[in-house]
């Protein structure tokens, strides 16, 4: 079997791992933005949850408690965002920025206060973190060429949150397009007045959407610090929330397309790491920074309408003010 094939599979495998927090954050953003609330605060919620999850997992010795704590912390931030932008009708973007900065500062302050080390939580040992699961039949399928490698490296051997991330996308699709809540969610993002006059609560729907977003971001953050890594480190989200936002736009607020965008962006990141220092014949060394920047460049090109058009929900970024 060629090295190239193995490298390709391993790069894809790395992409899967990188992709997970992007999926959770992007799905979180999908709920918020479909309801008409622009969510710049994904990054902050991921970061806060990563920190709280790692802290709780370390203190209580259980990744599950870490996960719950992470979801809770992220949801609290989501509710602050909601309070400012839904109840008080403030600028959604400003309060989103506030959440990012708040999370950035609080994680630094609290690591120092709780663990006496600025920006780091204790390393999680053994089953304090989510461990990878070996799927049944690996040994059996391993004998089959190509497929065996794919199954062993790419499909098996991830932790539960990875599988959850991929499972959640069809669920999101189903909720958004097949349920009563989804119908109301899409309506409130397009024309909140229609929702209000249909006897539904605009604020209630938006809070629900943000809460779901908070929980999803919470899982994404917990993944970063208790599954992908074994501790929280300073600014460990490294812009993941913004890449998720870009993926959300790139996927035009549609779950499956957003998933594809997340995977593309994750793949680019994995590729950037792979290609570091590699000299490609005929091209030379591709600057890693260029590959890193590609998701942003792609999103900007899309936003500029040069390839297709990304049209956000119509009521997006507008607080709902009740008047005729």
């Amino acid at each position: 079997m060629s090295d190239f094939f193995l490298t390709a599979v391993l790069t894809l495998d790395a992409s899967v791992r990188v992709c997970v927090p992007l999926i959770f954050a992007a799905m979180a953003g999908l709920f918020a933005e479909r309801s008409g609330v622009v969510d710049i605060g994904l990054e902050g919620k991921l970061l806060m949850s990563a920190f709280v999850a790692a802290s709780a997992a370390s203190v209580f010795g259980s990744p599950w408690l870490g996960l719950i704590a992470g979801m809770f912390a992220s949801s609290v931030l989501a509710m602050i965002h909601g309070f400012a932008s839904i109840t008080y009708k403030g600028n959604q973007i400003v309060s989103g920025v506030a959440i990012n900065i708040l999370a950035s500062g609080l994680t630094m302050i609290l690591t120092l206060a709780w663990f006496k080390r600025g920006g780091i939580t204790p390393t999680l040992q053994g089953d304090e973190r989510f461990l990878s699961i070996t799927l049944p039949g690996v040994d059996f399928i391993d004998h089959i060429p190509f497929l065996g490698v794919i199954y062993r490296e790419l499909i098996s051997g991830h932790n539960i949150l990875v599988y959850l991330a991929f499972a959640i996308v069809p669920v999101v699709w189903w909720i958004v397009f097949r349920t009563r809540f989804g119908l109301q969610l899409r309506a409130v993002g397009e024309n909140p007045k229609a929702v209000d006059t249909a006897g539904l609560s605009v604020e209630g729907l938006r809070y629900k959407a943000l809460l779901i977003g908070g929980i999803l971001c919470g899982i994404g953050g917990a993944y970063l610090s208790t599954a992908y890594n074994a501790q929280f480190t300073k600014e460990m989200t490294a812009g993941g929330g913004f890449i998720a936002l870009a993926a959300l736009i790139f996927g035009k607020w549609h779950p499956y397309r957003v998933l594809a965008a997340c995977f593309l962006f994750a793949f680019l990141q994995a590729l950037a790491i792979r290609l570091q220092g590699v000299i490609i014949p005929g091209i030379g060394e591709i600057p890693v920074q260029l590959i890193d920047a590609t998701p942003y460049i792609l999103t900007i090109i899309l936003l500029a309408g040069f390839i297709g058009k990304a049209v956000p929900p119509k009521a997006s970024a507008q607080p709902y003010i009740k008047e005729l």
Binding site: Q184, T197, G199, L200
Partner: protein, 528 residues
């Protein structure tokens, strides 16, 4: 629908569908509804008339649970009723068709109808159920609409049907319609009135809010009149007449037939030829429009809202470009290739009073002196090099306020703190006092109190007598007829008639406003 059964049962017991007792509502300092009483008999068509801002829409929005009354009592089919959201109103059997439709544009008709009354947690069953129910309703009332089409694809008339169906599907036995004909062609209006008849036959109570007296006279059984937040009269329609209603609406016998001498029409200052105009959304709004405006003459442009007058006005003011045709104005020519922007037109002596005062004519958060500067901020008198001289800005505003009797005459006051009439006077002062040659005026008296209306109309005529060419657009036929010397009627983006003002009456103008509905413009989705 269980709700409708309950409503039907209630109805069989009661003759009064809706009763409002001393309903009171404030918005800030505005007393929108002042101890309003109203009683609507079930199974009738009840009209509520009043001028803009009389409080009709607020009252109905309270009934529909969109706003809450500060005090007072509401009874629906003899039962005490208090709604904190539209949900309770819907459950009590009240449906409302708002002036601006409450539809989700990218949803299908079916999705729009079930929104808020989906039944189960999954929408597939609700959609199936609604499909059957809507087919039945469509047959019963002649309300055919294509169900699986996105509402943004439908004509305005069809969208209104969807709104009515929404109400009926949710079990409404009382249907409130707020200015339903404002956006309709006369044909569509007739169709709507036919639907009203069908609904009435089935025992549905209809409350019709309008300021068009002809509609009231033609189709209602009872009529209530509102003025300045108060309910001033109730009449049986057969026992009243438009003159009485008009008087009740306005409050005193004002004959706004302003003294006007014969026009001394001079040379053409503006010649429009074969104009074709697309609006900001890229929709064609004006086709093949040609006319001339002469000095010393008021040219009125009449038509139902949304028939291209607005886009025409904007094109004349340089806001929208032409896609075909030409405008010769003060010796210059505008064509699709050579556009003149609003600034260049102002320099040529073209003044523009925009239709939308709040959004375009002024900036609510700016002081009066800054609002008085809009469009003229580059003037030499107020600029010295790079410096915009505050003292000159203030002096400019003071003199405008004096000239047009704007109150309070405080240039530092925020523009939003003036009454509608005073805001409009300030805008008119700004546009009139620079001695323009051509005036383009849209809706000069919309939302303006009666005293200011008289003042404004007199000033417009003064400008005419000073030899200016005036183009006046208004949705108020009465205004067009009392001010204009010549009248153009627009329908569907085309000119459907030109008449001398002395030969014009409501009937002929109305026919022209309805005239041009071509067969190819049949509303889409007319079949189920």
């Amino acid at each position: 629908m269980s709700e409708s059964k309950i409503a039907k049962k209630l109805m069989s017991e009661s003759k009064i569908a809706i009763e409002l007792i001393n309903v009171d509502k404030h918005f800030g300092a505005v007393h929108a509804n002042d101890k309003v009483n109203l009683s609507v008999e079930s199974g009738t068509i009840h009209g509520i008339v009043g001028e803009n801002g009389a409080g009709k829409s607020t009252l109905m929005s309270i009934l529909y649970g969109f706003y809450q009354a500060d005090s007072g009592q509401i009874k629906v089919f003899d039962k005490d009723f208090r709604a904190t959201s539209s949900r309770q109103s819907i459950e009590a059997g009240i449906g409302m068709v708002h002036q601006h439709f409450m539809l989700v544009d990218n949803f299908t008709v079916l999705e729009n109808v079930i929104l808020g009354s989906e039944g189960g947690a999954l929408i597939s069953q609700s959609l199936a159920k609604a499909r059957i129910e809507l087919t039945r309703l469509a047959k019963e009332y002649g309300l055919e609409v294509e169900l699986d089409i996105a509402v943004e694809e439908l004509s305005v008339g069809m969208q209104q049907r969807v709104e009515i169906l929404k109400g009926l599907y949710k079990g409404a036995r009382v249907l409130i319609l707020d200015e339903p004909t404002g956006v309709l062609t006369p044909q569509e209006s007739d169709e709507l009135f036919r639907i009203f008849d069908a609904l009435k036959k089935q025992g549905v109570t209809i409350i019709l809010i309008t300021h068009k007296l002809r509609e009231i006279m033609n189709i209602t059984d009872h009529v209530s009149v509102m003025r300045a937040g108060k309910m001033v009269a109730h009449r049986e329609t057969s026992k009243t007449n438009p003159e009485e209603l008009a008087e009740l609406m306005i409050g005193r016998k004002v004959l706004l037939n302003i003294e006007k001498s014969k026009a001394k029409s001079g040379k053409a200052l503006l010649t429009a030829k074969n104009l074709e105009i697309y609006n900001e959304q890229g929709l064609k709004r004006v086709t093949e429009v040609s006319f001339q405006a002469h000095s010393g003459e008021i040219l009125g442009i009449a038509g139902v809202t949304g028939n291209g007058q607005g886009s025409l006005l904007k094109a004349l003011a340089g806001i929208l470009p032409l896609s075909k045709g030409s405008i010769k104005i003060m010796g210059k020519t505008i064509t699709p290739e050579s556009h003149l922007n609003p600034k260049q037109l102002r320099e040529l002596g073209v003044a523009h009073v925009p239709e939308d005062r709040q959004k375009m004519g002024m900036i609510a958060d700016f002081s009066a002196s800054e609002t008085a500067l809009l469009g003229y901020h580059n003037d030499k008198e107020i600029n010295q090099g790079v410096w915009l001289k505050r003292s000159s800005v203030k002096a400019n505003c003071e003199s405008l306020m004096q000239a047009f009797d704007v109150r309070p005459n405080n240039p530092n006051l925020m523009s939003s703190n003036f009454s509608g009439g005073n805001q409009q006077k300030l805008i008119l002062a700004r546009e009139f006092e620079r001695d323009p040659e051509v005036l383009i005026i849209g809706q000069p008296t919309r939302g303006v109190d009666i005293g200011a209306i008289e003042f404004i109309r007199k000033r417009i005529i003064e400008m005419r007598d000073a030899g200016k060419a005036i183009i006046l657009i208004s949705v108020e036929l009465e205004e067009i007829m009392s001010l204009s010397d010549r009248i153009i009627v627009m329908c569907d983006g085309e000119i459907t008639g030109t008449v001398d003002a002395k030969d014009a009456n409501e009937a002929t103008l109305g026919m022209m406003m309805a005239n041009a509905l071509q067969p190819q413009d049949e509303p889409k989705g007319a079949k189920l």
